[in-house]
Symmetry: C2
Subunit: 89 residues, 2 copies
DNA sequence: TAGATATTTAGATACTTCTTTAATTATCGA
DNA sequence: TCGATAATTAAAGAAGTATCTAAATATCTA
């Protein structure tokens, strides 16, 4: 079920851009929101979907919640894509 | 734009199953539909999205339309995933 | 050319997702 | 404890998606 959630999470450009940002460094929810024109609740919604798909971790540090990449599911995605990009089998 | 369409196309379980079937061998639209409980127009709709995302080719052979994998975009997907599964950069 | 088969296109409806504003929860610092 | 800051949750509307039935298009065969 997780892989399905992952694919659904990846189907949105905003969420993929969030992952791109987190690839550079860990960020708070507010810092992430600053990169977009949409409201913080919208970003919070996207972060929640990424979290449910286990593509990111969240960690509260005082007032802030720090988001970081969770590379585990990317490994599964990699396997899935490899089946298709490495010829018939 | 193609990568976005690809991610959207992959976000549906039916479409991913279609790709799984085509990984084994080329199939006509009817043969693909036989693997699902939904109607042929629904499958046709999914095939169209896969085609627009350039994940499959279609080739009419008489009455039949034969679908096959187009691995080109999978290469791009592979690169995208690799950026995340191969550590920070 | 007529009938049969394979597939898609059109139109409609139900469902899901995205986004917003308003309200709520959690934490910090004085 | 109060006020400020950070972030989420709730509720609602708009837009997008999946699915169905019915109709249309393309091709084959007799």
């Amino acid at each position: 079920m997780t892989l399905n959630q992952a694919f659904k999470a990846l189907s949105d450009p905003t969420r993929r851009k969030i992952l791109d940002l987190l690839k550079e460094r860990d960020l708070t929810a507010g810092e992430i929101a600053d990169h977009f024109q949409m409201t913080k609740p919208s970003i919070s919604h996207h972060l929640n979907l990424l979290k449910q798909a286990q593509l990111v971790w969240d960690d509260r540090q005082g007032q802030h919640i720090i988001y970081s990449l969770n590379t585990t599911v990317f490994q599964d995605l990699l396997k899935w894509v490899l089946h298709f990009s490495s010829g018939k089998e």
